[in-house]
Homo-oligomer: 230 residues x 2
């Protein structure tokens, strides 16, 4: 262990901040492509759609990479955020499930351009295996363990039907996958050391429906819902 921690960095980046770093990174790439050399917190915050004070506080968790009176150097900040997120190295990803969603994910350009390499696209259906998708030949699910091992896959993307998800998840974890992105509408049980993030399209719609209904209630006048009760 190195004496005592020299800075409060590296250890304590708030989860909320981590979730926004990719957002800043995306905005910065946009500025970079347009040739902008430096950017103020105000401008960057505006592009990223957040409060400028929040942006500055977020960035301050990584270190002091800005220049007072000037702003942030775009390229340098891109590098620092990328490094913090671990995007300066490549990550191998396996997508399990080659249905509509799995194929859409494999075909999605946003992955390859940010340090993620799709190592394999797997499916259980023999009729789908062998099919060509986004330059990849769909492989059989039983090759999962070999793929994870050979390709050093550390992130698994589950795009299977709900019923198959937990089984696939267990096999991923058993094979050594450390993080899972789950698109199946189930809660996955995993060991302590495995990270899971979920994306549920149906849930997002339901949240929107709630707000939409509230707006409708407001237009009709309050209190009408009570009439339906009891």
């Amino acid at each position: 262990m190195t004496s005592r921690t020299p800075r409060p960095r590296e250890r304590g980046i708030p989860e909320a901040t981590v979730a926004r770093l990719p957002l800043y990174l995306r905005a910065l790439h946009g500025l970079s492509e347009r040739g902008t050399p430096t950017v103020s917190s105000e401008e960057l915050a505006s592009v990223a759609g957040v409060n400028s004070a929040k942006l500055r506080k977020d960035l301050s968790h990584l270190g002091s990479y800005g220049t007072r009176g000037v702003g942030y150097d775009v390229e340098y900040l891109i590098y620092q955020i990328s490094r913090e997120l671990g995007l300066t190295q490549d990550w191998s990803v396996a997508i399990i499930g080659a249905g509509n969603l799995g194929r859409a994910l494999a075909d999605y350009g946003g992955f390859g351009t940010r340090g993620f390499r799709i190592a394999a696209l797997l499916d259980a259906d023999p009729k789908t295996v062998g099919r060509e998708v986004a330059g990849l030949s769909v492989r059989h699910i039983d090759e999962l363990e070999d793929v994870v091992s050979d390709e050093k896959v550390s992130i698994g993307v589950i795009a299977t039907p709900a019923a198959a998800a937990q089984g696939v998840c267990d096999r991923c974890v058993g094979a050594g996958v450390g993080s899972i992105l789950n698109f199946a509408p189930v809660v996955l049980n995993v060991p302590e050391h495995v990270d899971v993030r979920k994306v549920d399209l149906s849930i997002e719609l339901q949240i929107l429906a709630f707000h939409e209904q509230r707006k409708a209630v407001g237009r009709r006048g309050p209190g009408w819902a009570d009439a339906l009760e009891v």
Copy 2:
């Protein structure tokens, strides 16, 4: 207007709670299909993957729908949550963008079963227009305003390339859409009264990469990252 508000309900459901209600609903549907008549907060919380105290507090915001010593009636709770989320009425959804992702969304079964009806699937590409997807014929983007008006569409799903998203969004808002689910990797600008939720597949992967890297750093011993600095 009904005298004074009888309960502190309806008005003040925390956003964090709203985001979890669909999760509980999904868990309850599972229990319902298995014929379970009642469920305790402990059991339901376990299935939904949350803390039982949090579950109880969440449900308490809707009212007192449990029975002490027994638990919650599954069917009754399903009804109450559905009503609160506004799922007892049908919502018309338009999906804009019939690429891989748009088609996957149109084909995704989870929508129709939860009170959402896909009114139309639209695309700008003449070669895609007319194609049959999930029982729907892809229509041209210029029909957007007509579709929204005729089909009473209140939720728009944007599955277009990033460059087209803001334009499509503006047209949706102009046509009267009140909520937008955005899959394009851009920050959308909308008027005050419009709700936007975003799903960015690339961002989720980047967050996982961060945690994965942290785990790797831990294994190699702390402090190695500092050697790369300056």
